[in-house]
């Protein structure tokens, strides 16, 4: 039995990319679809079983999940054709993951495991000692930016990777429309994971981290767990989708009876997040769903607000929001789209991507593919 490589023969299968964040581990796996009978026959058992395990399941253990809807089909990578799978599991299961790698003798496959995110540092030692695996650590910001630039050129199963919302507040008219990122610079990149990092990108090599905030996806999920007793991000989002935040938040109209014209503040704007919860009566009358919704709105508005200020300070008018917080989170995406447009009086545009782009780059990087230049 021999190990299978790509066309250039420089990398052995399996092809993986890892992003180990504070809350979630995101994994991409390239499933070759052009395996010849000869290859199939020669494929080592280990490799075969990994491929079978990953592609025939959508859930792994109790916490691992494959996002089928994100799968990129018929992608050509280093001369090989295949599908790209997106898998995620909580960071606290990382030791179990490494253990599994060790049990399946992953190290014998001679693959390079590229990893980014804080966990690439935190778990580096564990990978080495427990799994006999050497991680190739990649800078997460680098991955993020190059991933954004790359994905747009690849496309998403024939669709545009980048999109925006037209009429974001009107559920009837709201439309997700493709956005062409042909001339991407300058752009503000807001990565919302557990926390938030904001990057200003001026060219493919010229970017800086402008700021960050600790009020991110982890805050939403963490507060939701405390306030509602929910146990998964999906559950938190689902509750939020059924709640009414205006019962929890104090709006401008709750204080002024309507718009605060002196400052041009509309009555519907939130004056104080959770402001109504100061009153005992109101605390007793809100539902868990309302609280989840208010938490989501609070965190999202705040990210929008900080992003808008950074865009103004950096003189950039396109803001790309990425990160796991926005996965299946249409409420936040539409709110970000609306808030950015409203408060900037139409000067700023919120853009979104279909994928966890940093992961993709991460994967491609492992093949030492030249960074694609976007024309």
């Amino acid at each position: 039995h021999r190990l299978v490589r790509g066309e250039k023969g420089d990398e052995f299968f399996p092809w993986f990319g890892l992003d180990i964040g504070g809350t979630l581990v995101k994994l991409v796996y390239f499933e070759p679809k052009d395996i010849t009978a000869e290859e199939e026959e020669e494929e080592v058992e280990n490799l075969k079983s990994i491929r079978k395990y990953l592609t025939s399941n959508v859930a792994y253990g109790s916490t691992g999940i494959r996002d089928v809807h994100l799968e990129l089909k018929d992608l050509t990578l280093c001369g090989r054709k295949g599908n790209l799978h997106f898998i995620r599991f909580p960071t606290h299961d990382m030791p179990a993951f490494i253990q599994m790698g060790s049990e399946k003798h992953f190290s014998s496959l001679h693959t390079t495991l590229c990893a980014t995110g804080g966990g690439a540092y935190k778990f580096e030692q564990d990978f080495r000692t427990m799994g006999d695996l050497q991680l190739q650590k990649l800078d997460e910001l680098d991955c993020l930016i190059k991933g954004v630039l790359y994905i747009d050129s690849v496309g998403f199963n024939g669709h545009s990777e980048c999109y925006y919302f037209e009429n974001p507040t009107d559920s009837e008219k709201c439309e997700k429309l493709p956005f062409n990122l042909e001339n991407p610079y300058p752009l503000l990149l807001v990565n919302i994971g557990s926390g938030v990092s904001i990057l200003a990108v001026y060219s493919k090599d010229n970017y800086k981290r402008v700021t960050g905030t600790s009020l991110g996806g982890g805050t939403f999920f963490g507060l939701c767990c405390l306030l509602t007793g929910c146990s998964t991000f999906e559950e938190a989002l689902e509750m939020a989708s059924r709640g009414d935040s205006t019962k929890v938040d104090k709006l401008v109209r709750d204080i002024y009876g309507g718009d605060y014209e002196r400052f041009g503040l509309p009555g519907w704007a939130v004056a104080s997040s959770f402001g109504n919860m100061v009153s005992k009566e109101k605390r007793e009358s809100v539902s868990k769903e309302d609280l989840a919704r208010a938490t989501l709105i609070t965190i999202t508005n705040n990210i929008g607000s900080i992003a808008r200020m950074c865009a103004l300070n950096e003189n950039i008018n396109r803001v790309v929001f990425v990160g796991n917080f926005l996965r299946i989170n249409t409420i936040s995406m539409r709110l970000l789209a609306y808030a950015l447009n409203y408060w900037s009086k139409g000067q700023l545009k919120a853009l979104f991507l279909e994928h966890e782009v940093n992961l993709l780059f991460n994967l491609f990087y492992s093949f030492k593919v030249q960074t694609p230049t976007v024309t």
Partner: protein, 790 residues
């Protein structure tokens, strides 16, 4: 409804009077059934209501701030020359002292919990005499809610004013009028409040008001400001979310919880994600990567304290970050923070300061205001008082009538008043004349009058507080004795004593209560307290007598000076000035001598003086300057004591300056302080001397000798708050020499003051502790002649 009026049993300071309100609902919900019985010390909180007008009210989420203008009737001592026409030729005294009533303007501001609003309105209604008042200006979120109640109770029409406009107006007013209004917060220092020198130009600045939400306002000029942004994550978020998470209902209790918690148990730190610091970005491992990031698990319990702390950090950091982003966008480096989230809470001031430092990398400073809670009320009041032109005058904080800044941190203040049930007061007196900087200050923006900051120097603070405590009994006795004809003088003196004693105790606990604690502020507070109990000038009779005695010796002193040659005379003049300065009733060592030795005179004082070389001795340089340089164009002299000091010390010195061709501006206090010579006394003294001495006479006549008032009633001297007329004269006459005399003006203050022209600071140290500190003994001499370096 009944109002029970009691005097406070513990004799505590007014601001601390408790209101007994059974079932009062703290924490801001000001509706529902309130128990209306309340104990209000009579006339102690809503004072001077008889003449009150121009009411304004600011009703916030939990506190109400009431403002009004009133007049205060004061006794003042007036001096007047005897009639020359008649039979009063042979007087023992050089002039007569009469006590008159004077009316001064005062602004009253009172802060109390919304719970008491009804009771307070009733009290005001019952005591309001002034019938011209028809309108009350109202601002704050609660102005809408309580409009009907106010109109019904007071019978005044509520005239609503915009919250932010009032806030900014109030802010500008305190920034201009109150010294040490602004402070930066320093953690882990002995005194956490670092007060700032008032800058002549207060604009532009950013005001970040953290109420239930956050408003960010850019203020460019007196009436020009702009709401540039805000955030919904504010005090209401801390309170509301905190109440949900910890089941703790009150804001203050949440803060207390937070001050005891560990946020690292709840927050996900950079090191939790990276295993250490994130080197590439230079992010420390202890930074928060995700607030509440560790609570994203269903199977763990978190302590209330830890969650409250995490929440506090989250909100403070977020506000600080946004404030910095706005400051950067608008190119501003001063941010004043206010709102109930900040209001006197060391915990929030600390986290906000940290956040601003972190996000601005030290380029922006987080600043706080002592009277932040009153800004809205002050602004609303100013709106209603526009026809009185309050902005035309200078105003001064009345230390006797103001509660001072209260720390609400229990660790910081063991005798802390819980905020509930507390009445806080702030009073400002209208000053007769506008105050400005001395034009000769080298740099008015960095000038600090006081030599020692007692908030900083714990040893000195303890010494001086004890010193003032020990002297208090004598001061009270003297005050009572100064009004032998008044039946209630002793009672008032006791009240004065109690009041000042309480102030001293407050300052022991909270040295920052009235800004930077200094010997000057201790002295000024004492003067304010004496005035409060109608002891406007306890030393008037002593000054009268001493001026009489000294005037009789004047000619003899001049004759003996004139018999000396030039060089001997110069030294004798300086020694005379110094010996005169020994006569200081403010110094305990001296007042003890003066009380016991009735014959103690000019010669005895000279013998007490330290021999040359003095403790600080640049006399030779001074003499060289007189000998070799051209005469000075004009000298400005700040005089100290009445009697021997001014008459036998200062006037001969003035006479010599005049003789050598130098014009003299003699500046004396506008109002009395200890036995310091007042402007009106100086006029009479000068007149008497002129009658005996032709040099003085012609100089007065030809306006080569000018007597002016300083605008102050302090035993110390703040060169940044001087009478406008004095400043104009100094400029007009091209003053090139400033002479400052006495411990209060030249040592406690101005010892390090840098001037644009030559200066002479001289004093005798009449306090052994201070002398020792400066490396000398009691009656050591300071003679500091300075020439500005180019």
């Amino acid at each position: 409804m009944r109002i029970y009026l009691h005097t406070d049993e513990a004799g505590q300071e007014r601001g601390a009077f408790k209101m007994a309100a059974r079932g009062g609902r703290g924490g801001g919900s000001g509706h529902g059934s309130l128990d209306k019985s309340i104990t209000l010390p009579p006339d102690e909180i809503f004072r001077n209501l008889e003449n009150a007008k121009r009411f304004a009210i600011d009703i916030g989420g939990s506190l109400t701030k009431l403002a009004y203008y009133s007049t205060v009737q004061h006794k003042v001592a007036r001096v007047r020359s005897f009639d020359h026409s008649g039979k009063d030729i042979e007087h023992e005294s050089p002039y007569e002292v009469t006590v008159q009533e004077e009316i001064t303007a005062r602004l009253h501001f009172i802060k109390f919990e919304n719970t008491y609003i009804e009771t307070c309105l009733d009290f005001i209604k019952d005591h309001l005499v002034n019938t011209e008042t028809k309108v009350i200006k109202a601002t704050g979120g609660g102005a809408y809610k309580f409009k009907d109640l106010i109109e019904k109770k007071l019978g005044l029409k509520v005239d609503k004013e915009d919250v932010m406009t009032c806030l900014i107006k109030g802010c500008n007013f305190v920034l201009k009028n109150i010294p040490h209004e602004v402070f930066a917060y320093q953690k882990d220092s002995d005194t956490e409040f670092r007060f700032q020198t008032n800058h002549p130009n207060i604009f532009p600045y950013l005001l970040v008001n953290i109420g239930s939400g956050v408003s960010i306002v850019k203020v460019e000029m007196e009436d020009k400001f702009e709401w540039i942004g805000g955030s919904s994550i504010g005090g209401g978020t801390f309170w509301g979310l905190g109440a949900l998470l910890t089941k703790t209902k009150k804001f203050d209790e949440l803060l207390q919880l937070a001050s005891k918690g560990q946020h690292t148990n709840v927050d996900m730190l950079v090191k939790d994600v990276y295993g250490g610091a994130y080197q590439t970005l230079g992010l420390s491992g202890n930074l928060i990567a995700s607030s509440f990031g560790k609570s994203a698990t269903a199977d763990k319990d978190f302590s209330k304290e830890d969650m409250a702390k995490s929440l506090l950090h989250m909100i403070s950091n977020d506000i600080g970050q946004l404030a910095c982003l706005y400051a950067k966008l608008h190119n501003l480096d001063k941010i004043y923070f206010g709102g109930f989230f900040i209001r006197g809470h060391p915990v929030t001031m600390r986290t906000i300061t940290y956040s601003i430092n972190f996000f601005s990398k030290g380029e922006v400073q987080a600043l706080f205001l002592r009277h932040e809670g009153y800004l809205g009320a002050i602004g609303a009041f100013l709106k209603g008082a526009e026809q009185d032109n309050p902005n035309q005058y200078s105003w001064g904080e009345n230390y006797a009538g103001s509660s001072g800044l209260m720390s609400t941190s229990p660790d910081l203040c063991p005798m802390q008043r819980t905020r509930s049930g507390t009445f806080d007061m702030f009073e400002m007196d209208r000053l007769e004349r506008p105050l400005v900087n001395l034009p000769l200050l080298k740099d008015s923006s960095t000038y600090i009058p006081d030599t020692v900051d007692l908030t900083d120097d714990a040893m000195a603070r303890k010494y001086w507080l004890t010193c003032f405590e020990e002297a208090l009994d004598g001061v009270a006795k003297r005050a009572a004795a100064s009004q032998p004809d008044s039946i209630d003088a002793v009672e008032r003196a006791e009240k004065f004593q109690q009041k000042y004693w309480n102030k001293l105790q407050t300052l022991r606990q909270q040295p920052f209560a009235y800004g930077t604690l200094t010997v000057r502020s201790l002295l000024d507070t004492r003067e304010h307290c004496l005035n409060e109990f109608n002891f406007p000038d306890p030393y008037s009779k002593i000054k009268q007598k001493e001026n009489g005695i000294a005037l009789k010796c004047f000619q003899g002193v001049i004759e003996s000076l004139d018999s000396l040659d030039w060089k001997e005379r110069q030294l004798a003049l300086v020694k005379g000035l110094l010996a005169g300065n020994v006569f200081d009733w403010g110094a305990k060592a001296v007042s003890d001598v003066l009380e016991s030795e009735t014959q103690f005179g000019f010669e005895e004082a000279k013998s007490k003086l330290q021999e040359r070389p003095w403790l600080e001795d640049s006399y030779d340089e001074w003499l060289d300057r007189l000998k070799e340089g051209p005469p000075h164009k004009c000298a400005l002299i700040f005089a100290d004591n009445s009697g021997i000091d001014i008459i036998l010390g200062v006037f001969p010195f003035v006479r010599e300056l005049l003789s050598s061709g130098t014009e003299v501006i003699l500046a004396c206090n506008s109002g009395p302080a200890l036995n310091d010579v007042t402007y009106s006394e100086s006029l009479i003294v000068a007149e008497k001397i002129a009658a005996m001495d032709s040099v003085i006479q012609s100089a007065l006549k030809e306006e080569r000798l000018l007597l002016v008032q300083t605008g102050s009633s302090s035993p110390c001297l703040d060169l940044s708050r001087l009478d406008k007329g004095l400043a104009m004269l100094v400029r007009e006459r091209k003053t090139d020499l400033v002479i400052i005399e006495g411990m209060g003006r030249a040592i406690h203050t101005n010892y390090y003051a840098a001037l644009k022209c030559e200066s002479l600071k001289l004093a005798v140290i009449k306090n052994s502790w201070l002398a020792e500190r400066l490396g000398g003994k009691i009656f050591s001499v300071i003679f500091k002649y300075e020439v500005p370096r180019e």
